[in-house]
């Protein structure tokens, strides 16, 4: 009987990465631009997407996938925009992975969809590790959460393509320190672009739509 060390050298999440690569190729082939949205629970992902879907639908056929541990609540809210929406319920899993997205996209969305939004489970930790095949990842942080969020959860900010400050209509009520949040984002991810919006008033959404359209045009 003898022991030996065998070198393997493979990514532990290889299966997820392969599924994500397959999705990305499929999105390119079908001309679909895909953005995922991550944030902590209650940062306003669903309200943000409600307005986003309503605005984007004016120019493009859009659809949304939304992940939660349980319930169809968010899908029902997002369907009010008129866009096709599918809920992914993860059970106890704290993040979406590429295989869940793959399964949800079986024979869906309807043909011609140009922009797909994926709302991840509310969590600033676990989604950071899983590539979903999306073209870009947007991290939301609300003014009510505390300006130190980026310092506490650097990994998710490191994997994002854009940060969006939400609920800016509440900034005054919570003594939001805008400079501190921007400084903290820049500390963990120098140069990350930041937009500021209010889903309630609609402030900042024109800029968000313009940003998104530029990225989509560059890809598709």
């Amino acid at each position: 009987m003898s022991t030996r060390i065998v070198e393997v050298r493979r990514n532990i999440l290889k299966k997820n990465d392969l599924a994500a690569a397959g999705l990305r190729q499929r999105f390119r082939d079908s001309g679909m631009f895909v953005a995922s949205v991550v944030s902590s629970p209650g940062a306003g992902k669903t309200a943000f997407l409600e307005r986003t879907l309503a605005m984007a639908a004016a120019a493009h056929p859009v659809a949304a996938l939304v992940g939660d541990l349980a319930t169809e609540c968010d899908a029902e809210r997002l369907r009010r925009s008129g866009a096709p929406v599918r809920q992914i319920t993860t059970g106890t899993v704290c993040h979406l992975d590429a295989e869940m997205v793959e399964q949800a996209l079986e024979k869906w969305p309807p043909g011609g969809c140009e922009w797909l939004f994926v709302e991840n489970v509310g969590n600033l930790v676990c989604p950071a590790s899983y590539d979903l095949g999306e073209d870009l990842r947007v991290v939301l942080v609300s003014v009510t959460e505390g300006e130190d969020k980026p310092l506490k959860y650097p990994t998710i900010f490191n994997t994002a393509d854009l940060a969006i400050v939400t609920k800016i209509d509440l900034a005054g009520a919570v003594d939001f320190d805008r400079a501190a949040l921007l400084r903290n984002i820049d500390t963990v991810r120098p140069g990350l672009e930041v937009l500021e919006v209010s889903a309630r008033s609609g402030a900042g959404f024109d800029e968000w739509m313009t940003w998104l359209a530029q990225r989509a045009n560059a890809l598709c």
Binding site: T3, I5, V6, R10, I12, L13, C94
Partner: protein, 85 residues
């Protein structure tokens, strides 16, 4: 706290490699590299590993974690016991 998901993926990854390790071989130790920016907590992963390996072909194996820089999350190698030799 997604270390259990990561641990289950790790068990899958090791089990994928088993055929090329040969017959009558058992895995004694698994060595992985975890980056500081990977979003994975080594201590939580170690705890999850025992649960994830239970009932699998690599049950009872140990986990060695090398903490490195960056976002690496890699199965580096396995130490196997060869009953044939």
């Amino acid at each position: 706290m997604h270390e259990l998901s990561i641990a289950l993926s790790l068990v899958d990854a090791v089990c994928d490699e088993l055929p090329r390790l040969g017959e009558r071989v058992s895995v004694r130790r698994v060595v992985i590299r975890v980056g500081a920016l990977s979003g994975v907590v080594p201590a939580a992963l170690k705890f999850a590993y025992d649960v994830a390996t239970e009932g699998s072909p690599i049950a009872g194996s140990g986990l060695d974690i090398e903490e490195v820089a960056g976002r690496v999350l890699e199965l580096k190698g396995v130490e196997v016991v060869d009953a044939n030799r």
